[in-house]
Symmetry: C3
Subunit: 339 residues, 3 copies
């Protein structure tokens, strides 16, 4: 692909020789000759020195390039465009594999691809261009929109509703019973989990993550939200639109997240609390109270992040502080236990 | 269902019109007209104001109701009874699916339901009313009692023993090799994991959780214990009866839990330690020592929870404390480094 | 097996009656009559008192034994040898199960064992003595060396490369898409994950763990590394040789671990950082910066472990410290807010 053609596709301007042939993409940390890479943040300009690639995508007002370049408003987004040109997504071929078990009452949309040993239950309804990879199990009554992709061994339990262009990675479980019990004479009594899960459009869920059905009502994952591997969302959560939950995060029952919430990895939320829109939470934090919209939080329990960082810094000086207090006591003539 | 009939079933007393027709159940946070809901804790009595439901289950000495009510000793347990009446559990139809692979030496109990692509190994013995959903794999020698339910894609490794009325949710793995190695010349040597797992009666295990077999001997999950999604129990643990382990908790090898232990989510136990009966541990805590029975603990490492909470509160004031010590030093005429 | 024969096999010296018949192995915590056990660390010598076993493996200069013994340089390694003699690993029988779906273009090595409902994609190449258990899915282009074992329901995505003698436990997912997105007008744009995963020789991965493919380039798991249950390794990580990552650990994108790194359970690494060779990190720690080789670290964020432990100890005394500062202030005549 000629550099000038790439520039035309991403709406950028060529700087240098537009006729250079680009053979693929690479990252700026591991640049490959003949490929195109990108630099989004001018503060990493030093990485351009001696860069041995065919071309580079750069911000319009960014640093000078040692190789032919494309100037563009959003180099990272443009780079995604270029990746997609070199590596177009491959959809599995349409058709139902001979070993798949599809209930006669299920309705598959156009160009459905149902892989080996997939199981599609009674009354399942799928939109167009759906792909169920090997071993996927859709329990009865599941409904999904267009462009649903379930990688190998995904399980979706009864009556879960899934929007358009949703992707579930291998091993994901959606609609499993919530963890709901009542202490009862002689043991612990299970509360039947008769609610369901709604996954809105453009959601992606990482490998082996789990999303439980509500006890009553709905566990909801909002439009455009991205969930990483091994995350668990408990019964009755309401996750807003365009949230990002990094790996191994866990939401307790009935947690509500506003729009655009960002959680680092291994975050926990205690349940029955509300995290406002646009909140960011540092990795490994534990949320035990409502968090106000727009803030950034950290720690166990999670507090305003500056306060948490200052506490952590001070913690390293605690030994020293103890010594200083002891010295003061000696000087002033009081003992540890009072005077 | 008439309210009076419901009252009779749950052993309660009707207050108001017992002839009102109840159409289903709903939660008090999302009440639906015509349904029945419940209120267990009188301190939430304010939620009753204007409640637009058909009826409500209330404690005997609880607040007055704005709608017909049933007075009963345990409203939450009674509500579970009512849910079960409206939504009786549906067991899959008995029979072995044509695509299942069942070893000739396996013995299935009465009314066994073996789903599509399930695999039942040599010498497996199942009690009555067992349901293996799609894609379940029981390795050779597994034994389970009556009423065993394995949701889609559960894996149970060789010779694991399972009691009556056990439920394993989708993606659970029981009996995988423990994480046991010895440093050896030129690498790391695996210790064969030749023990097994025993899961006692009435245990439930959440989606994608894992329970490893013992190196030697037995990993045991006690009667009535409930384990949430993505929990891992390492080799040689002894989990007591009626414990509840919330999501993403991890027990290191050889951990012993007494009866009735409650762990919040994302708790970790370091292994080879003992947690006494009735202990409660706050979410995200890390247990590195034995914990005395009956206590409540929190933090990393987990300490008595009041002490931990006071420490966390004080942590926020550390910056202030530093300033105050500095002021004292100035006043008294010592420097930070001594006089 | 006679004790003298065992001694010959492990290269040890019999102490006492070498003709005693040994019937199996047991642990020193749960000793069984007639079996052999081991004691590696002389500081546990008290456990030998009254030990009712057939024999014990002891260090050459270790304590005296109450039963026949074998003296050997590494009792634990010798015990592993003995376990393997009593419980030799059983490989599944060679052959392709009738329900497996193997692409005509796939190449299986000698003595391949392909279990029920396994799926082997186009162009897969496996070495000799490979065992794919029930329900394993290898996507097109996967290559594995000799002695590859995949337990039930393992999924390996497109083009992943696996070395010799690699074991993946049930439910493992390798090569799933990394969690890579760019904020975009009107939502969040996915970055195609076109890299792959390389797993080197002698790696073992625990149940339901996940290893993501790189965005570009390679996610690498070094030779001899052992990964426990429910661990997640994000896109672009470089895990060195002979590392051990305990359960539920998570590595953020682009994390680099040197050789011989040891992580306790539930550790998190923030990504795009480097952990030096031989580093040890305490369970539940959160790594947010590079860690120097050879050190031991703990805490959130992880710091030198002694410093962290002193901080945690001091934390318990913070309430007391506050009281002491208040007393000093009174004595000296300053108020909390200055004089």
């Amino acid at each position: 692909m000629r550099l000038a053609d790439i520039a035309a596709r991403v709406g950028g301007t060529v700087e240098g020789d537009g006729s250079v042939e680009i053979t693929g993409v690479s990252s700026i940390e591991a640049p490959q000759p003949g490929t195109i890479t990108f630099l989004a943040d001018p503060k990493h300009a030093a990485r351009l020195a001696g860069l041995a690639v065919g071309a580079v995508l750069l911000p319009i007002d960014g640093p000078a390039a040692p190789v032919p370049a494309i100037r563009v408003a959003h180099p990272h987004l443009a780079f995604v465009d270029v990746i997609e040109q070199f590596h177009p997504a491959v959809r599995p071929l349409p058709g139902v594999h001979a070993t798949a078990v599809v209930a006669p009452t299920a309705r598959l949309g156009a160009r459905a691809s149902i892989g080996p040993h997939a199981v599609v239950g009674d009354g399942v309804v799928l939109g167009d261009d759906c792909a169920l990879h090997a071993g996927v199990v859709l329990y009865p009554g599941v409904r999904a929109g267009n462009g649903f992709t379930a990688y190998a061994r995904v399980v979706v339990r009864e009556d879960v509703r899934i929007g358009d262009r949703v992707t579930l990675h291998a091993g994901v479980v959606v609609g499993s019973d919530g963890f709901g019990y009542v202490p009862a004479p002689g043991g612990i009594r299970k509360i039947p989990q008769i609610g369901t899960v709604v996954i809105e459009d453009d959601v992606e869920v990482g490998a082996n993550a789990t999303i439980d059905r509500a006890a009553l009502g709905i566990t909801r994952i909002g439009r455009g939200t991205k969930i990483d591997n091994l995350v668990t969302v408990a019964h009755g959560c309401e996750v807003g639109a365009y949230c990002m939950l990094a790996a191994q995060t866990g939401l307790g029952g009935g947690t509500t997240l506003g729009t655009g919430v960002l959680f680092g990895g291994q975050v926990g939320a205690a349940g029955h609390l509300t995290v406002g829109a646009g909140v960011k939470v540092a990795a490994k934090s534990g949320i035990s109270n409502d968090l106000d919209a727009g803030g950034t939080y950290g720690g166990i329990p999670a507090i305003e992040i500056g306060q948490w960082r200052r506490g952590m810094t001070a913690l390293k000086r605690l030994g020293e502080l103890l010594r200083r207090v002891r010295r003061l006591e000696r000087k002033v003539g009081v003992t540890e236990d009072g005077e």
